[in-house]
């Protein structure tokens, strides 16, 4: 669109710098077409100012308010389900995934070392196994306690 026309309008709306306003004033003094358009814009603006139609809410206050109050009460009763927000600074947010990955790696290495390194530690591992799946039997075995328990549920049906 013609930049000159938009500047005329911006002048009317008080959006121009002093230098630009002087430039527009020069156009208005010398250009009849610019003056005519400016006058039309100005007349339209002044016609609209303070002449917005006045409307009344087409409902009674009680009816209108009841829906608002109902919604507010519902919100007040609803539990706060939003997840806790992470409030760290940007570098903490950036570093968080790396920290989690590093922690996971440390845990993984520790577990592998624990399993393969010291044979004596394996006695603390206990197992739950189901050797006879069709019979729903469950067995529990502990090296530390030197025991094995087998539980067979009764077949009532």
């Amino acid at each position: 669109m013609n930049e000159k026309l938009l500047k005329l309008q911006a002048h009317l709306d008080g959006e121009l710098s002093t230098a630009e306003s002087k430039q527009v004033a020069g156009w208005l003094a010398s250009d009849q077409q610019a003056r005519a358009i400016y006058e039309e814009l100005r007349a339209t603006k002044s016609l609209l100012t303070g002449n917005e139609v006045e409307l009344k809410l087409p409902e009674t206050h009680d009816f209108y308010w009841s829906k608002i109050a109902r919604e507010i009460n519902r919100l007040n009763r609803a539990p706060q389900t939003s997840p806790p927000r992470f409030s760290g600074s940007w570098w903490m947010r950036l570093a968080a995934p790396f920290a989690i990955a590093a922690l996971a790696a440390v845990l993984f290495i520790s577990v592998v070392k624990l399993q393969s390194g010291s044979r004596g530690m394996t006695r603390y591992f206990q197992e739950i196994e189901t050797p006879l799946e069709e019979s729903n039997a469950i067995s529990f075995h502990s090296d530390a306690a030197n025991m094995r328990v087998v539980w067979i549920p009764s077949q009532e049906n």
């Binding site: 669109m1 013609n2 026309l5 938009l6 309008q9 911006a10 709306d13 959006e15 005519a36 358009i37 006058e39 039309e40 814009l41 007349a43 339209t44 603006k45 016609l47 609209l48 100012t49 002449n51 917005e52 139609v53 006045e54 409307l55 009344k56 809410l57 087409p58 409902e59 206050h61 209108y64 308010w65 829906k67 608002i68 109050a69 919604e71 507010i72 919100l75």
Partner: protein, 201 residues
Amino acid sequence: MTTRIDYSGMTDEALVKAAQRGGMEAFEQLVARHRDKIYARAFSMMRNEDAAIDMSQEAWVKSWQRLKQFQGEASFVTWMTRIVINLCLDQLRKQKRSRADSIEQLDEELGGVERQMPVVNPNPTERLERSELRQRIDRALNQLSVEHRTVLILQEFEELEYKEIAKKMKCSIGTVMSRLFYARRKMASLLAGLRREEFNK
């Protein structure tokens, strides 16, 4: 014995403070005081009674939720009006996604339409009562596209600066300026047409 507080005599500021402390009755008084203005702004943008009622009620609920954030930089009613405008703009954007652009918009984007319009004198005030003039301005606004009407409402009635309008409408300042220019020229032509009708009676 409990004492009933008379909220009707309280200022908006006092009512807001009471509502911020959880006073629903104070908030209801604010709704009663400003419901017409908030509804009218919603209607001016949505052009539909049911949609305007829904938007205005949603705005009141939202304001209740955000009431603690209200610090009193602007008046309460200005703050409320901004909330309802934002909700209406969101709703209009959703509606726009599901409809094709009008020919009028395409014309505007191609450029030149507003320059082809003859310059008119949009001054029908001589023979009209103020209430009738307002009705006619409203009818003329109704003939504009959503984008042109919205930019005019935000500039002329809400007195927002170009950059604020651009931010709200999620477009460039240049787009705001061209839409505003087109909208004013179209309004001038519609209101001049009304004057011609008036003389032909």
